[in-house]
C-alpha cells in the first residue's frame, strides 16, 4: 500500500515540476532545441535543478541495503554502450525534435485536454507495442 502512495505522490510532484518549468509545453521544448534559431536555454536549467537534487540522494541512499517500501533497489542492468542505445536514442531524438514532446510532458499534458496530446500518447503507446511485438518475434526465432 505504501509503495502505491509513493508512486502516486511521485507522479503528482513530477507533473507539478513539469508545469512549473513549463516543460509540459512543446513550444517551450522546441525553443530549446532550436539552438541555431531563436534559442531558449531553459531546459538545461530544468535538468540542472533535477540533477542537483537527485544526484546526492542517489549517492547517499544507493549504498543502503533497502528502499523504504520495496525489497531492493531496481537498477538498470546494462552497462555497455551497445547498438540499441545508439540507434534507439537517435530515433527518440528525431521524434522529440519533430513535435517537442517526450514521454513525461506528453502524458502530463493530457491534463490540458488537447486532442493532439491524446494522439501523441496513443502513438507513443503504439510505438511501445510495435517494438514489443517485434522483440518477441525476434526472441522466438
Amino acid at each position: 500500500m505504501a509503495s502505491k502512495i509513493v508512486s502516486f505522490i511521485s507522479g503528482i510532484i513530477f507533473g507539478v515540476g513539469l508545469s512549473v518549468s513549463n516543460m509540459i509545453n512543446p513550444e517551450k521544448v522546441l525553443g530549446f532545441l532550436d539552438i541555431f534559431g531563436l534559442w531558449d536555454p531553459s531546459l538545461i536549467f530544468v535538468m540542472m535543478g533535477a540533477i542537483i537534487i537527485s544526484a546526492p540522494a542517489f549517492f547517499l541512499f544507493r549504498s543502503k541495503n533497502k528502499p523504504l517500501f520495496a525489497d531492493n533497489f531496481t537498477m538498470p542492468t546494462l552497462k555497455s554502450i551497445d547498438k540499441n542505445l545508439i540507434i534507439g536514442s537517435s530515433i527518440f531524438g528525431v521524434g522529440w525534435g519533430m513535435a517537442g514532446f517526450c514521454p513525461g510532458p506528453a502524458i502530463s499534458s493530457l491534463a490540458l485536454l488537447n486532442t493532439y496530446s491524446v494522439y501523441f500518447v496513443l502513438s507513443l503507446l503504439g510505438g511501445f507495442l510495435l517494438t514489443e511485438f517485434v522483440n518477441r518475434i525476434i526472441i522466438r526465432r
Partner: protein, 137 residues
Amino acid sequence: MNIVNFTPQSAFLGGIIIGFAVIIFFIGNGRLAGVSGIVNAALVSKQNRTDNLLFIIGLVLGPIFYVFFTKIDIPFLITSSLPIIITAGFLVGIGTKIGRGCTSGHGICGISLLSVRSIIATIIFMITAIITVKLIG
C-alpha cells in the same frame, strides 16, 4: 544565436521539484522515475502495474493541482500538424524502448547516477533532436 523566452528561475525551480519526485520514488520504492520505462512497463508487464498506473495518473493530476492552487495558466502551444504528431509519437515510443530511456530516465536519473550509457544517450538524442528541428523547423 539569439536567446529568447529564457525563464531560468521557473525552469530551475521546476527542475528541483522534478528532482524531489525522482528521489521520493527512489527512496520509497527503489526505482528510477524514467517515464518511458514506467509507461512501457504499465503497458506490457504485469509486474508493479498498479504502481506504474498510479504514477501515470499522478503525472496527469500534477498540472491540474498546479493550476488549481496557483491559479496560474500553463502556457501550452502545439504547432505541429497531426501527421507529424502521430509520427513523432511512434518514433518516441520505438526509440525510447530500444534505447531504454527518455529525457527523464537517461537525462535526469542516468546522469545523476553518472551512468556513461545515459550520458551518451542524452548527447545522442539531443543532437538528433536539434538536427531535426533545424531541418523541419
